[in-house]
Symmetry: C2
Subunit: 220 residues, 2 copies
DNA sequence: TTTATTTTTTAGAAACAACTAAAAATAGAT
DNA sequence: ATCTATTTTTAGTTGTTTCTAAAAAATAAA
């Protein structure tokens, strides 16, 4: 129905507008898509032409209802494939994104619902990100950065804000992953770094403020 | 590395040349790819340029070693995905080809080997077609059309020559699928149709010559 | 061996998706 | 309000993949 390139733009526009920056600017999209501003302008005209977005010159772009529908379905496909790759094929959470970027474009009316059932209808992906359901509804979960938790508080890791391989592999080496139980022991006032205890492993370690702000947790 | 279009042409050239028509002609490729002769000529030049095929004007095309390697890997990916779709997601054998056509182009160094292991290293796909191994070797099986089996002979269905939805759904309705045990009861001389018994179901039926020639069996 | 038919290639064009360089519009600062 | 800096759009180009129409080559027929 739509090209992979069009779909990637729709997904990027949805991501940026859900982050709050709406309407989405040409420059923000160029940065997100790692391309140039003229390429973005071209595509925005095509998306508007196809009624997937409303585009006003020098102002920005917003998805139409149909655009949101398609972009949300893409996020659903991307994240379900990520679950498949980790749960069924044994890939690590830092390895699956690039494959999912390709798999999400596979078109078939029934495929993704079968995959969803095969995976047991997961609500969150390997990075803790919500998976929209078949109707486009997003599961909600009250999560916050670990850096917000007060000293003495306890929480469970439920997501990451930074999806880079470097950060994910660093977390692996520390023994931190989704579901890990963390107790905040101390906050260093000098650089806001955090001393925490991994409750299950019974191991203490120090996290930089940058790392603590990139970890999402649910309070206990 | 290569575009989906290039990969599709490589796969088609491999298919036709394995069928015996080598070198492959522009016309045969145009028919196989459902496109026009000029499009084929263009692509053959590009494939030759990239050392994936040797192409001589007005003569035909042959894959290079690298071309064979890539095309064989594609067939492997296509057929492993077809196994996944039937075995794990519960699709029927007439539903999986179009999805596999898309999935086969997903690029990743480890993905297909992980999928192969997850599926238990199958050697044949849902249509009975051989799945090349990671080194590009094709499993062999001495199979023949059901129409060749003499009266009184017994055989097991191991493949189909016609992959059309119409034929596959017709077989479903008859109760014929891979692994079904067939006994040939009688050959009608008039139109070469075949009276057979489905041994497990204990049911007798008549197959046209066209159908019997499209069914591959292994003799018992 | 000409002639006619079929097949294949060339020529030219269109749609898509990307780019660089230059012009235009907007936003920010004096 | 004017000038400056940034952002965005326009213009022009490239590469890919497809097509139709016309020319050229190969094959088949007379
Ligand atoms: Mn991802
Ligand atoms: Mn993810
Ligand atoms: Mn197939
Ligand atoms: Mn098959």
């Amino acid at each position: 129905m739509y090209t992979s390139s069009e779909e990637n733009y729709l997904k990027a526009i949805l991501k940026l507008s859900r982050k709050g920056d709406s309407p989405v600017t040409t420059g923000a999209l160029a940065a997100e898509m790692q391309t140039t501003a003229p390429s973005v302008t071209d595509m925005l005209r095509r998306l508007a032409e196809k009624q997937l977005a409303t585009y006003e010159k020098y102002y920005g772009v917003q998805l139409t209802e149909e655009g949101v529908r398609i972009a949300t379905a893409l996020v659903r496909r991307h994240r379900l494939w990520e679950v498949f790759l980790t749960e069924k094929l044994g890939f690590l959470w830092d390895e699956v994104h690039d494959m999912a970027e390709q798999l999400e474009h596979v078109q078939h009316p029934e495929l993704i619902e079968r995959l969803d059932a095969f995976l047991g209808h997961p609500r969150f992906d390997p990075h803790g990100d919500p998976i929209p359901d078949a109707q486009g509804r997003w599961p909600e979960r009250q999560r916050q950065p670990l850096s917000n938790v007060e000293v003495g508080g306890q929480a469970v890791v439920v997501g990451v804000d930074d999806h880079s391989t470097a950060f994910l592999q660093y977390l692996d080496r520390l023994g931190i992953g989704l579901g890990v139980h963390i107790a905040v022991l101390e906050r260093v006032e000098y650089d806001h770094s955090l001393c925490v205890r991994l409750v299950e492993q019974g191991r203490d370690l120090t996290l930089s403020d940058k790392a603590a702000r990139s970890l999402f947790v649910e309070l206990l």
